[in-house]
Amino acid sequence: MSSDPFSLWVYLSRSPLLWLTVTLLVYAIADAVSLKTQRHPLANPVLHSIWVVALFLLLTGTSYSTYFAGAQFVHFLLGPATVALAVPLYENRKRVAASILPMLVALVVGSITAIVSVMVLARMFGLPRPVILSLAPKSVTAGVAMGISESLGADPSLTAVSVILTGIMGAIVVTPLMNRAGITDFRARGFAAGLAAHGIGTARAFQVDEIAGVFSGIAMSLNALVTSLLVPLAVTLLR
């Protein structure tokens, strides 16, 4: 036991406990604020948790790998949460089965749009080729996108960042965009959110409407499959 506060900090800042606690606490506050603003799109809890935690790491000079040693327990839950999507899918199976054809068409068209649009824009803006490749799988969930990026020889950590940025922007913009476009079909709205903005879009969709959440979860799962197949093809075609 040490009485020196600095050596206590050195000890704690290297332990997973501190960083796990910081992650949960910051998120709990961000989520409470989001709830207080009636889930206003700009009060997105992921966005605000990320910058607060990132700022904290920069101010304390903590490396990302030290932080991740604690935060990995939360990150790990992405896998089980994907499996858990089976439950809302099961509970709404009749509605889902009735929309199978619109889903498949929207899946193929949307997945191609997500990949091609970002690659064309990135090239127009003169971004270097490794960056363009890292952005290509940005609409699928982080684990899958990083795998695709690695197989292309791109930068998986840049891909992870672009995935999260895409998810946050999609989650912020989807509700006002769909309202302005006058779209009231929550199956279609949810499906678009999950396809364009993966799990963060899905989390947003569940906040707005249960059916939207279910369709968003399906879109996110299916797009993970389709994008893994389409990105290598797009990279070959769009040289």
Partner: protein
Amino acid sequence: MIASLSLILICQLIGEVIVHGLGVAVPGPVVGLVLLLVLLLLRDRFSVFSRGPLRDEGVERASRGLLANLSLMFVPAGVGVVQKLDLLAEHGIAIMTALAISVVVTLLVTVAAFLITSRLMAGFGREDAP
């Protein structure tokens, strides 16, 4: 609770084994999702499956708990932005603009494709209009 979480993890584990065993380009958790869905459907058909976490809403409650906190799980990966500050200082505006335009275009094209197909189907009288 623990039994339900175990069932979810077992589905994911079998999913990973299948994916890596066959070398397919599908994420393991997505195969796990399909497995859990099949189990839930089998439970309705055959009473043998209606036990443990598959009884009394066990796995349903655990899954809802996980999904209610889905946003939280993206925070650790997102904080990875601290490793990319140099790159973002150099290309940040171009990257953000490309991602922002792409996500809006993708949302609009996807929702349009869904609604147009849905209306065409309704036109053929196979489904109610939305």
